[in-house]
Amino acid sequence: MRGAWLIMKKELLELSKDRRTLFFTFAMPLILYPVIFGVMGKMSMRDEADRKSRPSRVYLVDPGSVLAPALQADPKDFQIVAAPEGGLSKALRDKKLEMALEVPASASEDLKAQRTLALTATINRAEDDSQLALKRLNDLLKTQDKTWVDTRLQALNASPQLAEPSKVEVKNAADLALELGKSLGIWIPYIILISMFSSVMGHGSSMTAGERERGTLMSLLSTRISRGQIALGKLMALFALGALSVVSNVAGSAIGFNMLGHDIAAQSAATGAPATTSLLQMASPSTLGLTLLLLVPVSLVMVAFVMTVGIRAKSQREAATALMPGMFVIIMLGVFSMAPGIEKMSIIPFVPIINASVAIREMFGQQFNWVHYLLALGINTTAAIAFTALATKTLNREDVLFKS
């Protein structure tokens, strides 16, 4: 093992002198995620708040003046505008207005005859402002409909509750932490898998094909350290780098999410909605600990795969090209693991990597399943051992080491 430790020490020492790589691997996620979540989140919320503060511009055709008074009575939500030039579709596309509302000429008679009033609302579904205008119209019509129905029922001397035979009161059994944890649990495995593999891929290419390309592999092989120890040392170094990269990415996400959480909390407080919680509140120490334990064999699978492919390549570029399919597989597995209902497929607990992803999701969603977890741990550990053996065997092959 001493040989393996020395090789690991060599790799980490070499990396420690590459400040640029260190920055992009470990420091960048701590800056990037808070920027993404924090700044973009703030921008998104500001945009949302700004949209809600502006009234929706509506071109209203209402010959009988049936809805016009209701819209005019709510200047906070509606602003009636003149007929647009160049046509309705163009005006909606060019964001000159948010909605066109047509009330039929027979509206008054329809209401008197207790016929359903058929309105035509034209919006641009691709625009959030237009969607908001429609939502405001539906809210207004809900209130207006109740008024009309109550009036009709009063005229019939009937109870207002005649129009509401049943009512559903929704009580949420999940606390906000559970809801957010469930959402986060879908994303966290994806972030972890992608960040781990991309970090391992880059460093792994450098440690294998890169070492051959730089002409230092032969120096290592000519020492008394066995090839098995050299392979193990590189695996250990790569694993350490992958693990640190994951920590950095998850920490960056946590910081960003907390920044966003504070803004949401401030907004929630103003509207009276429940406050958000931090990542640590959503995931208990045991959840985080079990997640990290499960990630050990998963990262070893990736590390050993990268080394096996990398050592066969003549250059780093060749290694990176050969590893790209692996990256696509990881992305696909990550996306697949986010699909709703995936955990119900009977084969999933037996598929390496994806079973770990689903187990992590279940843990964050507070639906921990011991069987799924132990299967994921066992299967990924077996895969890690197999790939490690393959990587070591590959490093021992003369036709691989001395290919020209």
Partner: protein, 254 residues
């Protein structure tokens, strides 16, 4: 000290045009001995099998047939121990450019089983001898080819090996640096080490080698002191012997 007995080595290669696999016999029945305190020159054209032979001696490759022993250790079964007693330096070996010479020597010393402080001390001594001690703490990405080669030589000798194999030790070096390296080889010989030098520089081989062997098509020819070889072949230089052997080899193939 270094003993090869009827060593054979073949490789499978693929003909890119016909896509057929071919078996290439790189080394065909080579036997030689190198004693302590002797410099043995291994000469031959490109692709003759020199590097393959040296890699087998260094325990990096295993022979298909025959045996190789270094200091009484079989390279096939005791490869790691062989590399602990032997120094192998090839032209395609580079330094770790992000390290300083001191860092690299300390690390490789530890890899060869030398305690860190001892490795550093020996390394500094070797750098002094190679006139590189002023640059011991400078990152090697700024070093010239000659400077890097000196560090590699120091790295190879750090663990006080009993046998030394140098593949093209003076390639790419200026005259002064090349002389330093040759003086070092003589010093190693005087210290009782067995030295194998692989080179294309025939005059150098004539000057410093106690015996030379010329490899052609994987076979060893003329395993003798240079003077004896010249006399036997009625040649004035090893270049002439080389051309004679090349001609004989082509005639044999034809």
């Amino acid at each position: 000290m270094i003993q090869l007995r009827d060593v054979h080595k073949s490789f499978d290669v693929r003909d890119k045009r016909t896509r057929k696999k071919m078996r290439v016999d790189a080394v065909r029945g080579i036997s030689l001995n190198v004693e302590p305190g002797e410099i043995y020159g291994l000469l031959g054209p490109n692709g003759a099998g020199k590097t393959t032979t040296l890699r087998m001696i260094a325990g990096l490759m295993k022979p298909d047939q025959g045996s190789i022993e270094v200091c009484g250790l079989d390279t096939r079964t005791r490869g790691e121990d062989v590399r602990g007693k032997l120094a192998y330096l090839a032209t395609d070996m580079q330094v770790y450019e992000r390290f300083t010479p001191r860092e690299q020597l300390r690390l490789f010393g530890e890899m060869q089983g030398v305690e860190a402080a001892t490795a550093e001390r020996r390394g500094m001594h070797l750098l002094e001898r190679l006139r590189l001690s002023d640059f011991a703490d400078v990152k090697m990405n700024t070093f010239s080819t000659g400077q890097k080669q000196k560090v590699n030589i120091a790295r190879a000798l750090l663990h006080d090996p009993k046998a030394v194999i140098f593949d093209e030790p003076t390639t790419g070096l200026d005259v002064l640096t090349a002389k330093t390296v040759l003086d070092l080889l003589q010093l190693m010989k005087s210290e009782g080490r067995a030295v194998i030098v692989c080179t294309h520089a025939m005059p150098m081989a004539e000057d410093i080698c106690d015996r030379v062997g010329i490899i052609f098509d994987g076979k060893l020819h003329g395993d003798a002191p240079p003077r004896d070889l010249l006399r036997a072949r009625h040649a004035r230089s090893l270049d002439e012997v080389f051309f004679q052997l090349a001609g004989e080899s082509e005639a044999a193939i034809a």
